[in-house]
């Protein structure tokens, strides 16, 4: 309505001017003709022309003012509907348009409000699902076995920390495969092995009824990183019993094999050394026995031999037991736990399940144990249950303290001095293992931990206790991500604090990444967003000193699967450059060089579309290095600078910060390669719907549109 008013106003003014001009001209012409004055005729004509020109000029100005404001309103509408609902427009032109902008902003306000309300409802609805997912993720993260879930194309939909550890790259090996969502499992585990296991599973499924237990195929394989793995593959199906994918569970058996090899060697050397020593002793003794009339000097020599060898023998034994204790003991899955945590858990369980009063007598807070807490809990529960049920014990005391290289866990209860001998008899009974009832006694607990257990009476014979010696954790308390701290050149560092993005079940609905990327929709592609920091801006002269990258899979920026690497440029970094990105000569001195890093980044970005801001520069830098790195980046690329120009052609500024502000992306940690890559990734994700509004849906369309923008003509 406003718009039509404006139009009619413009038309009215223009028409008025024209009519005025025409009328004036006509009158002048009439007058001139009658008076026969040429001067007047020409003056009239000029007046007409001037008036018409004035009218046109006015019309043009109005049109321009209105149209530009109208266009800005349209853009603002798109922004609000799309990436940045908080965008508000200010119009400086015509009062009517200002009013329109005001109404527009009010609408926007309501829209934002409605959206917020809707998202609250949606959030509530999603909370349950989210909780389950978190539970799953946590569960997976804590498993000691590696777990991979793959679809039938071999794309990884889920992996846990152990899988990442088992299959990941240890150190600086050049281009190997990465564990990551949407990546192919075949780069990590031999394809034929998996296919064979799948065939086995398929075959067995065909023969079995639905009620049969789930089919599992097991195999031993060498992973791409050289580890020896025992793996179990089990399929999972959709409701119509169609196989949809499979779960691979795996354990590293190279460590086990390595350990038994060490044990073997140890046994071997032990036997050999003892043979030699005992050989010497036996020969000496027999010589003395056979020749009793040997001289005292000779006898003295033999005695010395026996003494020396016997002593050496005992020392050897001690040393072996000390240094190889862990090799000699059977390895259970022991976990680290602080003494107070353990005591708390035991206390909780005893109070809840057996309703006894539990007093914590004493605990060494700094003590960390290495235990199988489940077994321990079972053992302690069994003992206390016996005490409660058979002897009516109602109070239990617990203490946990360090003794030498062990932790002493005392489980005590009050007794009467008169019963002391009865308890002495009973103690053996308490430790007897009956394999049939499946109960775990304290003796078994001790055996599993390579510890000891015994019964003891308190000093005043008013209490009795079992003392359990358990292994202490060596080294710093808590979980040790040792390998991560060691690697200065660590590549993939999953951030532990945030909820891991280790799974993406939506990948089920996605075809393989390979075929015809060009025709694929922008939403379905896998991207590597990256940024570099350099010593300067001249390709060929300047060097890359940092690469930061992360991936977009299924429309999510995976902050866990990160590539972040400093690079030794083997030349000084100008202070002007350091001022921008903060990277100093000292920081890069011990870092790998570009010929090592770029192949690794190439592997990281394999089979993905590269995204970057002003990518032409980075690609040019990579190209410069092709002769040293021997890798050529032939991935399809999309440049957020160009895409911004596609989306907002009327804007002049397309810097990363400008775009971020326009699209409502918070830019934190800018001017680090990874920080910029994250911002670029967020921006790109918000651009996708804006591109779609312009009919740009596929990779091909996006590339074509980008190439046609003005900025694309600037070349490096």
């Amino acid at each position: 309505m406003k718009r039509s008013q404006i139009s009619s106003l413009i038309a009215l003014v223009a028409l008025g001017a024209l009519a005025l001009g025409a009328a004036g001209g006509w009158l002048t012409a009439q007058f001139a003709m009658r008076a026969g004055s040429g001067v007047l005729f020409w003056a009239g004509l000029i007046a007409i022309v001037l008036l018409v020109a004035a009218a046109l000029f006015t019309m043009h100005r109005f049109m321009r003012a209105f149209l530009i404001d109208v266009r800005r309103l349209t853009e603002a509408g798109r922004l609000v509907l799309g990436p940045n609902p908080n965008y508000r427009i200010t119009v400086t032109g015509h009062p009517d348009l200002k009013e329109l902008a005001g109404v527009f902003n009010q609408f926007t306000e309501r829209f934002v409000q409605l959206q917020a309300e809707r998202s609250v409802i949606a959030q509530q609805a999603r909370a349950d699902l989210e909780e389950e997912r978190t539970l799953l993720a946590t569960l997976m993260a804590e498993l000691t076995e590696g777990v991979l879930v793959c679809n039938l194309d071999g794309q990884i939909l889920l992996y846990n920390r152990s899988a990442h550890h088992l299959l990941g790259v240890e150190r600086e090996e050049a281009a190997s495969s990465y564990v990551g969502l949407g990546r192919s499992v075949f780069g990590l585990i031999d394809r034929n092995t998996i296919v064979h296991a799948l065939e086995q599973v398929q075959y067995r499924r065909q023969r079995q009824q639905n009620t049969a237990p789930p089919v599992v195929a097991s195999f031993v394989t060498t992973a791409a990183n050289g580890r020896l793995l025992r793996a179990w593959l089990s399929p999972f199906s959709s409701r119509d019993n169609e196989m949809r994918g499979y779960v691979i569970t795996m354990q590293d058996i190279s460590e086990g094999i390595e350990r038994s090899r060490r044990r073997d060697m140890l046994l071997q050397t032990l036997i050999e050394r003892q043979r030699a020593a005992i050989g010497a002793i036996r020969a000496a003794i027999e010589a003395m026995a056979q020749f009793p009339d040997m001289t005292p000097v000779q006898r003295q020599r033999f005695q010395q031999v026996i003494q020396d060898e016997a002593q050496a023998l005992s020392e050897q034994l001690d040393q072996t037991v000390r240094t190889h204790a862990s090799d000699l003991r059977a390895q259970w899955q022991l976990e680290e736990m602080t003494a107070s945590d353990l005591l708390w858990a035991v206390q909780q369980r005893l109070t809840e399940r057996l309703s006894v009063d539990v007093a914590r007598v004493d605990v060494d807070e700094s003590l960390v144990l290495k235990i199988d807490s489940y077994t321990l809990m079972q053992g302690v529960s069994l003992l206390v249950r016996m005490l409660v049920e058979k002897f009516g014990v109602t109070t239990i005391s617990l203490s946990l303290n360090a003794i030498e290289r062990y932790a002493a866990f005392d489980i005590g209860w009050p007794i009467r001095a008169a019963d002391a001998s009865e308890w002495q008899t009973w103690k053996e009974h308490a430790l007897i293992t009956d394999n049939n009832d499946g109960m775990i006694t304290l003796r078994e607990v001790a055996e599993r931990h390579g510890g000891e257990v015994w019964f003891q009476l308190g000093d005043a014979i008013d209490s009795a206790y079992f003392r359990l010696l358990l292994p202490r954790s060596v080294g710093p308390a808590g979980r040790q991500p040792a390998s991560q701290n060691e690697r200065s050149a660590a590549i993939i560092q999953p951030t532990v604090e945030s909820r891991p993005e280790y799974y993406d079940f939506d990948l089920f609905h996605q075809p393989g990444q390979r075929p015809e990327l060009d025709a694929r929709s922008l939403r379905s592609l896998t991207y590597t967003v990256f940024d570099t920091e350099t010593t300067g801006l001249t390709p060929g002269l300047d060097e890359i000193i940092s690469i930061g990258a992360l991936r977009i899979v299924n429309g999510r920026l995976l902050r866990q699967e990160v590539f972040e690497q400093l690079i030794d440029p083997q030349r000084p970094i100008p202070s002007a450059a350091t001022a921008i990105h903060g990277i100093t000569d000292a920081m890069v001195r011990t870092q790998p060089t570009i010929d090592v890093v770029l192949p690794r980044f190439h592997a990281f970005a394999e089979d993905t579309v590269l995204i970057g801001h002003n990518l032409a520069f980075d690609m040019r830098m990579f190209q410069e290095k092709e002769s040293v790195t021997r890798v050529c980046f032939d991935n399809p690329i999309l440049d957020t600078l160009l895409l911004s120009a596609v989306i907002h052609p009327e804007e002049e500024r397309h810097g990363l910060e400008d775009i971020a502000a326009r699209l409502g992306v918070q830019s934190l940690g800018r001017h680090t390669a990874l920080g910029d890559a994250i911002v670029t990734g967020e921006i790109f994700l918000r651009m996708i719907p804006l591109l779609e509004e312009r009919g740009i849906h596929t990779l091909q369309q996006a590339r074509t549109a980008a190439e046609q923008t003005y900025f694309a003509r600037l070349k490096y």
Partner: protein, 129 residues
């Protein structure tokens, strides 16, 4: 002339007993404490029998055994492996390389002497107890 026995072992404590026992048995005894010394003594001392340890500094016992067996001039020399390496594969290896006997430590000195005597009698007719 007594038969000659060469004891090759790097562990002094066993050598003491072996030397004593062999001397008491009436043999002429020489001692080598490593592989190279053993090779040298085999040439200079020309023993009738060698008590040969496997684990030696320098050339190991198996190598010495192999070398001696390749030399025709030492054809009559008896070689008894006397070693802490007692795994079945090692015994098999020693015998396959041409050792006359393979005795693992610890051993009975009586058995050892009987074994020594047996081999020396077979090769050395002039031997008298």
């Amino acid at each position: 002339m007594p038969a000659k026995v060469l004891i090759v072992d790097d562990e002094a404590n066993i050598v003491i007993s072996l030397e004593f026992l062999m001397e008491q048995a009436g043999y002429a005894v020489a001692i080598a404490r490593n592989g190279d010394e053993a090779i040298e003594k085999i040439e200079s001392f020309r023993p009738d029998l060698v008590l040969l340890d496997v684990m030696l500094p320098g050339v190991n016992g198996f190598d010495i055994l192999q070398r001696v067996r390749q030399q025709p001039e030492h054809r009559g020399m008896a070689i008894i492996m006397l070693t802490a390496k007692g795994r079945e594969v090692e015994v098999t290896k020693g015998l396959a390389l041409g050792a006359d006997a393979y005795i693992t430590k610890p051993f009975s000195t009586r058995d050892l002497l009987a074994e020594v005597r047996r081999h020396l009698n077979a090769n050395h007719e002039t031997f008298t107890d």
